[in-house]
Symmetry: C2
Amino acid sequence: MSRRALPLVFVASVEQPELDEADEHHLRKALRLRDGDAVGLSDGKGHWRQARLGSDAVEVDGEVTFESAPTEPLTVGFCPIKGERSEWFVQKLTELNVDRIIPLISDRGVVRWNEQRSAKLAARFRVTVREAAMQSRRVWLPTVEAPMSVGDALALPGAALADPDGRVATSADRTLFVGPEGGWSDNERAGADLICLPGAVLRAETAAIAAAVVLEGNRGKSK
Amino acid sequence: MSRRALPLVFVASVEQPELDEADEHHLRKALRLRDGDAVGLSDGKGHWRQARLGSDAVEVDGEVTFESAPTEPLTVGFCPIKGERSEWFVQKLTELNVDRIIPLISDRGVVRWNEQRSAKLAARFRVTVREAAMQSRRVWLPTVEAPMSVGDALALPGAALADPDGRVATSADRTLFVGPEGGWSDNERAGADLICLPGAVLRAETAAIAAAVVLEGNRGKSK
């Protein structure tokens, strides 16, 4: 069975796999798998192995394969919003093969940041990323950075802001940030490299997906 | 003020504009506009004109401009799901400049179709399209077709199915259909032109957005 077709579950080690209780519950209850059914195991760091659900433990059923880390990793930053919709951004960016996700602290963002909230949000996002990566059969787990200011994020190599006044993205662009509903402040835009996204006037959530699709669609075209 | 910056509202005629009651309510209550504030008016058929809110009526405040219909219109089809999430697809496709939206009746779709449901759904989608197009400042309102089978939709010129086994889209591709969560049936895939979308394993909602971004990103590159 192909790797994409098998339900994927992350384990600490594919050599001596042990399922998290919550993951086993998900496989058996949500996906309705039973003893003997095949699953894929990954450590989220490129290793993958086929296995079968057993009554006691998960039983390995194939050799370990390894997929190298992406040579041109993609980074997308977005401005978290209140409530659970921020998890939705993280889920979508994971589906779309983004390698690094940066929560941005923006002048017009709606979340008021403090240390406690930053730590809590980053922790929640890492749970979401793990679930979404299993759903999307990714063997490399995306990284979620701690929230950073737009200024700090723009200091990353090749970073650009999504903006209607920007240029078209090329395959050299691999780091793109999407603004809050209210747009970037003049201060944030000043001197920044601007890239326009396809479409009309986009909501922030649509823009984040569009950014990921554009980068991912261009990935590898430079080769 | 630029056309993109002004709140947009659709009217039957930009020559003798009259606001719908619901639209006026939206402008005044949700967007908090007052008498004298500028708005853009459009007939959804390429005409646009600036105006101001008045206490009695909307007062025109500029000449009528006209934008030609897109010469390379884009079509995206998707499989409606139960509840309000289908409206979400329509909203996103409108934001992303899709010109024609087709609700697809698919072997593995979850909506059981009948004539009454088809008519009701298409009517609801037209309301959503109108709201989303105002939000996105589009002066050409996308068309929403009546629900059609995947087989019928594939008979449209240049139509292709989004599928992981497909080829990469080119700027010649302008009609793309996205399957239900369960994927296309063998019958639907047989003989169809298949196009792969960027990303890992995508949920249906992410795939619909990705399809629109890819087509819209390619639009005009052939010129």
